[in-house]
Amino acid sequence: MRHHLILRVITKLLVGPIIIFALYVQFHGEYSPGGGFQAGVIFAVAFILFGIVFGLEKVKEVFPAWLVHKFTAIGVLLYSGTGVVSMMLGANYLNYSALNPENPQAGQVAGIIAIELGVGITVAAVMIAIYYAFAGRPPVIDDEDW
């Protein structure tokens, strides 16, 4: 990949804006189209693009595989933990109004942001884990076998 000068320069240029756009989609999800799933996919795309152009080893230095697996679980834990917290506060599972009894709407906004964050973390981590699994397997077909 050393000879792909244009791809390397453009990738360096684009990885940052892609991550910023993912965070915008993540935290703007309740006002405009978007949300946790889309934001997670866009966030993962930044890492996958970096891995395609610079190689799997480089992207594993940035975001190691063991950390990806941890984040896969942390997202689900955040999602279900929000539901359990609302249960502890005396309401149904994932009833966000219980998070802020004086102002139920603020509680709903906080709860939606929390579970969307969980969804985003899990989706991003799972997409990156799938990319690692596919890109890291040994080549079974040689180029000459086509």
Binding site: H4, I6, L7, I10, L13, L14, P17, E144
Partner: protein, 132 residues
């Protein structure tokens, strides 16, 4: 509606319709051109021009709003990524030994010579040969 508004509307719609025409020409070129290189040329160039004109027309329609800022960001993004994607596809085709139509007999000896020095084996049967 005074003269200035009509003028702005006219410029906007000229840009939008021009962009649509470029996109249409690019699509026809992608379908009707004979081989890979001419097709990728038609699609990339016409799409860049059509995208810029469409974005410009929609920016004028939007006025000084947040929508215009988002459209400009989208335009800059596509203006960078479109030619880069075309470059990547064309570069991959070139490296794998896929020659333009009619250039096969013309350049066969040179490619065969380069194959030894660059360790870039030009296959006798390229999987892409004959067009996509």
């Amino acid at each position: 509606m005074n003269f200035f508004q009509i003028f702005v509307e006219a410029i906007s719609w000229i840009a939008i319709l021009g962009g649509c025409a470029f996109m249409l020409v690019g699509a026809i070129g992608a379908l009707r051109f004979p081989d890979f290189w001419t097709r990728i040329h038609a699609v990339s160039v016409a799409d860049s021009a059509g995208m810029l004109l469409l974005t410009l027309g929609m920016c004028i329609q939007g006025g000084f709003t947040l929508v215009t800022v988002k459209l400009i960001i989208i335009g800059v993004f596509l203006f960078i990524t479109g030619p880069t994607a075309t470059h990547a596809v064309a570069n991959a085709a070139m490296v794998s030994g896929f020659l333009p139509k009619g250039a096969d007999e013309f350049r066969k000896p040179k490619i065969a010579h380069d194959a030894k020095t660059r360790k870039l084996k030009a296959k006798k049967k390229s999987p892409l040969k004959g067009g996509l």
